[in-house]
């Protein structure tokens, strides 16, 4: 299934890109997706959103999901 990935802030610098599209097997989790795009472990305080809702790395993905990885927020 196809998954769209977005990276923000320092995560974008680390990954060397702002977004990418990945093909992975059905029932993959966010953690599986991370393993498919990089061999590095996910930084400890990484925040994860699936379809613009916060979630955890155990979240099981569906075809067409948009997954975002980013560092702690610093707005306001």
């Amino acid at each position: 299934m196809k998954i769209a990935i977005k990276y923000f802030a320092s995560m974008r610098d680390t990954m060397g890109k702002a977004n990418e599209s990945v093909d992975i097997s059905e029932k993959s989790s966010v953690a599986d997706l991370w393993g498919a795009v990089t061999q590095n472990p996910m930084p400890e305080n990484t925040l994860i959103a699936v379809n613009m809702e916060y979630t955890s790395s155990e979240h099981v993905l569906n075809e067409g999901d948009e997954v975002a990885f980013f560092p702690p927020v610093t707005g306001g």
Partner: protein, 159 residues
């Protein structure tokens, strides 16, 4: 209720005055509390900040803040809430964020405004990148404000 994510300067006092005159019914609110966050020219030991860039997650940012405002309206019986948040390039002294809340009585307006800005600082997907003569860096957490929040909470409990 309105949430605006904006690339480009804004005058927060003018924005809130205009929002109020167009959206808030005459004579029904007794209290309005406004928070405005501005860019300091110093932060966490860096004392010559020359500029800042604010990244965000288009779509999720708006959605997240709108939900927080709805939560605040429901939780505190608040009449209305209005948020403006800058993104993109920001200069020292620029307003970065405006949170305005209207209610019948003052306690609810204070609580709801503080709730919205605290969530916005901790959960809304924005990231600051600061620049000074030594170069640029992504800001890592609102450390000083966290300490100040905790200190204030402790003082409140102690008093």
């Amino acid at each position: 209720m309105k949430v605006i994510i904006q690339d480009g300067e804004f005058d927060p006092w003018k924005a809130v005055q205009e929002y109020q005159s167009e959206n808030i019914a005459d004579g029904k609110h007794g209290a309005s509390v406004t928070f405005i966050g501005s860019m300091r020219d110093f932060n966490d030991g860096v004392d010559d900040l020359s500029k800042m860039y604010l990244d965000h997650y288009p779509g999720m940012t708006e959605k997240h803040i709108e939900r927080v405002c709805e939560d605040a309206l429901n939780k505190w019986d608040v009449l209305d809430a209005f948020v403006v948040h800058r993104v993109g390039n920001i200069a020292p002294n620029d307003a970065i964020v405006l949170v305005a809340v209207w209610s019948e009585h003052r306690a609810m307006a204070f609580d709801a405004c503080r709730f919205i800005i605290n969530d916005l600082k901790h959960r809304a997907p924005f990231w600051k990148r600061e620049a000074n003569e030594d170069g640029e860096r992504w800001v890592e957490g609102n450390t000083v404000d966290e300490v100040a929040d905790q200190h204030s909470d402790m003082a409140k409990r102690a008093s």
